[in-house]
Amino acid sequence: MQNLIEAHNRVKDFDWEPSYASKPDWYPTKYKIPAKTKDPFRHLIRDYLSMEEEKDNRQYGSMEDALARGQVSAKAEPRWMEAMKAALPILNFGEYAAMKNMGQLIETINNAELRQGYLAQMLDEVRHTNQEAYLSRYFARHAADPEGFTQGFKLRGTNIFNRAARAAFEAFFVGDPIEGALNLQVVAETAYTNSIFVALTEIAAANGDQVTPSVFLSIQSDESRHMANGYSTLAAVVSNPDNLPALQIDFDRAFWRQHAFIDSFLSVVWDYFQTNRSFSYLDKWREWIDNDWVGSYIERLAPFGLKVPSTFAAARDRVPWMGHSAAMVGFAAWPLQYWRFDPLTNRDMDWFELKYPGWHGQYGKFWDEYRRRCDPRNGELALSMFPSLPPLCRVCQMPCVFPRPDISTCRIKEFAGKRHAFCTPECELIFDQEPHRYLAYDTFYELFDGYDLADFIVENGLLRADGKTLIAQPWLNQEQMWTIDHIRAARYEIRDPLRQQ
């Protein structure tokens, strides 16, 4: 196209003010967005299609050719591959929710420049949803242990940890579209996708998984455009000073909602599922989130009146510990999951002490005991180390054990005749702002309180094809695997920790 600038101007001149029918305000927003801003996208659909086609050809081509022939996935470190069973169905909903947010933004934001970016992102998100489901299926076919990959999208439905992912990602599209964009584009995509789709691929590659990087790096090439969408959306919002008070409240909340899940989830996947170890999650958090996202991005918006989220300092304080606490609950609750776990070795534990000084004093005993309880012949469940499963936060759905069980910030309160747990004062504040938004679902314990663990496993389809062996295992030992008979013999009852005696 000879005259690209003119072409861009013309394709942005389609909007008109309807006069024959008035549209309902389907997605109310409290923000006023100027009708004209900078175009974050600057691509015609024609160019976009050809660019994405080329990326698809490279990625799917490599997966189906050399990577499949080389049986790369079957040779990857099993510990790492188990993390992918958990991660892919979780990430997938984030992409799907993002696609829905784009529908809301296209509908609501009357700004032709921004809409150009949103429309490409809408199709990108379908792309990512498809890519991650494709990768799951690829692993079902090629990984050493397919169980878990074969039905992750079903099993995520009632999974205790997937609840937290769902809660975080529903914030992308259930509410004010701009608040959705803050959660999605400004926080999740700009702060965290480098960690998910770039740094995590280094760990994948170091652990023999060459397929995930092919997919994730291809995804990340779209994410950089989404970050531009986020920046342009934010710039449009701050350009009207009337927006600022609401913006800061929504931004503080968006950061916390995403941090509460993503930092816990990423740090567990990252630190506890590496075999060939390199950097820690904390190393990368300081680099990507603290220095880059806050230092090079958010702080630069200060002249426009936007401040670093008030919740950021609390997040920074707890990030060094929260992954370990989440991992402890996750590993202890292994029979509830649809992936296997690999206990830490002495070498792993030395690495943790090096990367997180003081780690051993807090968590070392748990890991010694966990290892002992991996063998089904001992008949002892790791879960029995604790009086009960922890309560789950009413807002973020994470277990209330943060930052560490010994200094937990968990609080319980009554509301509308029921007791509710909150993992932190931040989540409690979010609840207090709009309690009715967080009360529509059944809690994990409302569904499963009083269940024998074996019944939970059978009812939720957590058995392998033999109908007897659990999909989840506390270790990777293939000779000694837990069966439903072991679980029945262990006699463990799921109990609501908020249930009053």
Binding site: P28, M99, Y134, R137
Partner: protein, 343 residues
């Protein structure tokens, strides 16, 4: 390999394939949308400040016990969709490039160029853009992933059509001395012949029901109004006016239209299937949609009669074309069991 007595399956086990084997399309699409009636029994974790949940059954008046049963007959997922559209856009680009090199644009009848291409066809891009807006919102609300995705792809179809037209007219400007693409927006906004069309698209943009949107556009308005305003007028008449290029572009949009018609027909078949509890209710709803949109579609087509007059001595042409388009549409509706006399 694992040491379990029974071989583990090597494919997704939670999707019931439409055919014998799970297709790639089904594997990467089905159950990516959560639903409390499927695997997510605890419900939704978040409501909007106004109290609505992520998805609502009342987003359409049609009823079905399991929207996830829907399958796109074209089996589109992002990869084959993007490939198809990239190919179509490349075909357009090459055709325009070749036409320019061959000097074919100079063979266009000048009146055709100004009256029909710039004066009429370019105005249609606003209609397509309005549909892009409407389908983008509809994809947000659809009650399953397979439905959300076809609606999303249709939104992208529509913005592609709109942008393609703009780029085509820019190429004409570059190759035909003195030609200017101007005034289309003004005509869209005020010329009487386009006001019924604009009224339709504004009503579609204000239609909350995603199934009604697809039904109205793909089974009524495109087969009648777009057929009259674009296919039978521009595509069919162009060669008589020295223009073999524009039909080539329109045919890519017709390929999209056939795909969109096919999935919407599939939606009708699924919601009126024999044995489905709500089939009769759904038929009543769809007949009401027919009543609402048929008269608007025909009125918008009729308003375009003056454009046919500009084509020269073809008296009677417009009425013949409209009758033919309506007859074809009526046959399709009858085949779906939604004919005027009970199908």
């Amino acid at each position: 390999m694992m040491n379990t007595a029974v071989q583990s399956p090597r494919d997704f086990t939670y999707i019931k394939p439409r055919k014998r084997r799970l297709s790639e399309y089904e594997a990467v699409t089905c159950y990516t949308q959560p639903d409390p009636a499927v695997f997510d029994r605890q419900g939704w974790y978040l409501l909007t400040p106004e109290g609505r949940a992520a998805w609502r059954p009342e987003s359409t008046r049609l009823q079905h016990p399991h929207w996830f049963d829907f399958r796109d007959p074209s089996s589109m997922w992002q990869r084959n969709y993007v490939k198809l559209q990239a190919e179509q856009e490349r075909a357009i680009e090459r055709c325009v490039e070749d036409a320019a090199s061959a000097g074919a644009f100079s063979e266009f009848d000048p009146d055709w160029l100004t009256e029909i291409i710039a004066g009429h066809y370019r105005v249609w891009s606003f209609f397509e853009y309005g549909l892009f807006r409407a389908f983008s919102r509809a994809q947000r609300e659809a009650l399953s992933d397979t439905l959300g995705n076809v609606l999303c792809f249709e939104a992208v179809d529509r913005i592609r059509h709109a942008q393609s037209t703009v780029l085509y007219l820019m190429a004409l400007e570059a190759n035909i001395e003195g030609f200017k693409d101007q005034g289309a927006k003004q005509r869209w906004l005020s010329e009487p012949r386009y006001q019924p069309l604009r009224a339709i698209v504004e009503s579609l943009m204000a239609t909350e029901d995603w199934a009604e949107l697809a039904f109205a556009v793909n089974l009524i308005i495109d087969p009648i109004t777009t057929e009259i305003g674009v296919s039978r007028l521009v595509r069919r008449q162009a060669p008589r006016h020295g223009d073999p290029i524009t039909p080539m572009i329109i045919m890519t949009t017709e390929r999209d239209r056939r795909r969109n018609q096919a999935w919407t027909e599939e939606l009708v078949r699924m919601t009126t299937a024999a044995g489905l509890l709500n089939a009769d209710d759904n038929r009543i709803v769809m007949r009401a949609w027919c009543d609402r949109w048929m008269s608007l579609a025909i009125a918008a087509a009729r308003a375009l009669a003056p454009v046919y007059d500009r084509l020269g001595p073809h008296a009677g042409l417009f009425e013949e074309e409209l009758a033919a388009a309506c007859a074809r549409q009526a046959t399709m509706m009858a085949e779906l069991g939604l004919g005027a006399k009970g199908g």
